[in-house]
Symmetry: C2
Amino acid sequence: MKICLLPGDGIGVEIVDAAVEVLDAAAKKYGFEIEYDKQLIGGCAIDATGVPLPEATIASAKAADAVLLGAVGGPKWDNVAPDIRPEKGLLGIRKALGLYCNLRPMTVSKFTAHLSPLKTERAEGADLLIVRELTGGIYFGEHNEAHLNADGVEEASDVELYTRPEVERIARFAFEAAKKRRGKVTSVDKANVLGSSRMWRKIVAEMQAKDYPEVELNNFYVDNCAMQLVLNPKQFDVILTNNIFGDILSDEASTIAGSIGLLPSASLGDGTGMYEPIHGSAPDIAGQGIANPLATILSVAMMLRYSLNQNEAADAMEAAVDAVMEQGYRTPDLYAEGLKKVSTSEIGHLVAQEL
Amino acid sequence: MKICLLPGDGIGVEIVDAAVEVLDAAAKKYGFEIEYDKQLIGGCAIDATGVPLPEATIASAKAADAVLLGAVGGPKWDNVAPDIRPEKGLLGIRKALGLYCNLRPMTVSKFTAHLSPLKTERAEGADLLIVRELTGGIYFGEHNEAHLNADGVEEASDVELYTRPEVERIARFAFEAAKKRRGKVTSVDKANVLGSSRMWRKIVAEMQAKDYPEVELNNFYVDNCAMQLVLNPKQFDVILTNNIFGDILSDEASTIAGSIGLLPSASLGDGTGMYEPIHGSAPDIAGQGIANPLATILSVAMMLRYSLNQNEAADAMEAAVDAVMEQGYRTPDLYAEGLKKVSTSEIGHLVAQEL
Ligand SMILES: CC(C)[C@H](C(=O)O)[C@@H](O)C(=O)O
Ligand SMILES: CC(C)[C@H](C(=O)O)[C@@H](O)C(=O)O
């Protein structure tokens, strides 16, 4: 199987290295073969080629069975022109691979519940999956940069646009996921204000009635959902939402876990899927061997499950991460007295051994 | 001075009654006169007139020095046609009065910090003001309901549009507010994706450089702000943002206080200002005399300050609410052992007496 590696910037390099070691160990144990092709994306691609998403990267990603991404960006590229910023690499590869479905599981682990900003008993046990539409909506509608309108007044605008097929394919994903989980979908929109949300709500309701009567469907307004995530995160199973609301709500939800160092993500479409930790490139700690690679390793577990059809290896990898945490090993971000402090590569070795 | 009273639906009636008693007491003590004109809005207006915002209500509001609103909506009107829903009354009066500036202070009171979903020490002491643009953006851009496009595919869309004058007037409000507070503005946008946000960020930066060099300006992406509100709400002073992001972030921020029963709001424009608690109409407890009127009373204090030019009375009213809480009086929503449980009207009397 071919994996396109996109370490990107900052700590991306170290965490992808650690995750590759774990993936290699899984391949050996479960008897499959992995070939890697390392490519550039984000700031390092700008430095080397002038653009954040070189053609070679797109070609390699398309040819691969899955893509593993570290992180992109950093203050070094704060002043490059808007259309070649590191994030454009990320948005570009989502579009190029047609990754319309972003999955962000958020589980409050027993190892981090006490670190949650929420009172521990509110956070503990929360286990939700955000299903975010990723290639439509206001992200990819027409952007009108600042310009003078017919009255000579400066204005700028963006279009939030959804089509029925776009809503249907992401909704189907959420319902299917809910069937394998606790059977509940909360669809989030702003149907009391937006036309696109009213269509969204209608299509989701139609699909539930027709194909998923056994799944419970609730509709929440986005403002209410932003409240409920803080007040009672345990009420949620699958949260289905559009691109911009998903961006906001998934970052909000990620805080509840107590550490973003353990949160993976998958971005899926009809072709190659892409996997990445939800944290950023953390340039302030890059190159010191102290970054936490567990979110990347858990992203590899999602890759095994969704792209490589290796469910057993995926389960084992998640169990190995748990076991290493149980044994008290922690990278500095999660270290506390009485635990064992280890480096990025050390915790990678430990997970690989545990497999 | 003329006050247009819009009790609205559910508990709106009781809480406005209690707040009127307190305002009358303040008028007597501080020597000004109040005349009331009670009008319909929301569900009760639909029942009586067929529309959520009768012409008489608009006329009364425009003629008044300030509007005091209770709350609108309830399950009774869940099935009315979309264009006459109770919320349309709210959106309509914002537009009719030109209320472009929504102010939502969120202070974690020492009486409710322990009720915050956040770990108490993270919440305690947080004191921020959200300045939300209220008559522009995707709320009032063109809404295209579901229809078949040229390719025969069903689609729906909305337009996020801002003009320079719209951004300037709300930004100025935020900078002026920051000068009277701790001197810090966090402007929230999604400039890495949206054209409207890039213009927003540019205009805000220009204004700061030219007119408010003494105010500290930070720019946060909306997803990051949604995280930071949970992780560290104390870092914020004034948060300046657009209509839709303000809707989401202000509801999220409101949870931190530990109770929405104490959170007021003001909506200001160039004419009459409108004041309302941020909580809803709570139909489940309406008519029982157990609703908490303190958010409405604190909204009246904002009215005294922003519309009636009675700063002394405003300060006294806020101090009276604090004193009554200090004495241990609580409506059932905030009651706990060792405290004194009182009704909606009783806590209103107590605040009025305290003045
Ligand atoms: C970097 C940015 C463009 C991106 C987004 O808004 O989608 C990020 O916030 C994310 O959620 O992956
Ligand atoms: C009721 C709704 C239309 C309204 C809004 O979205 O502005 C509400 O959520 C608010 O924040 O006042």
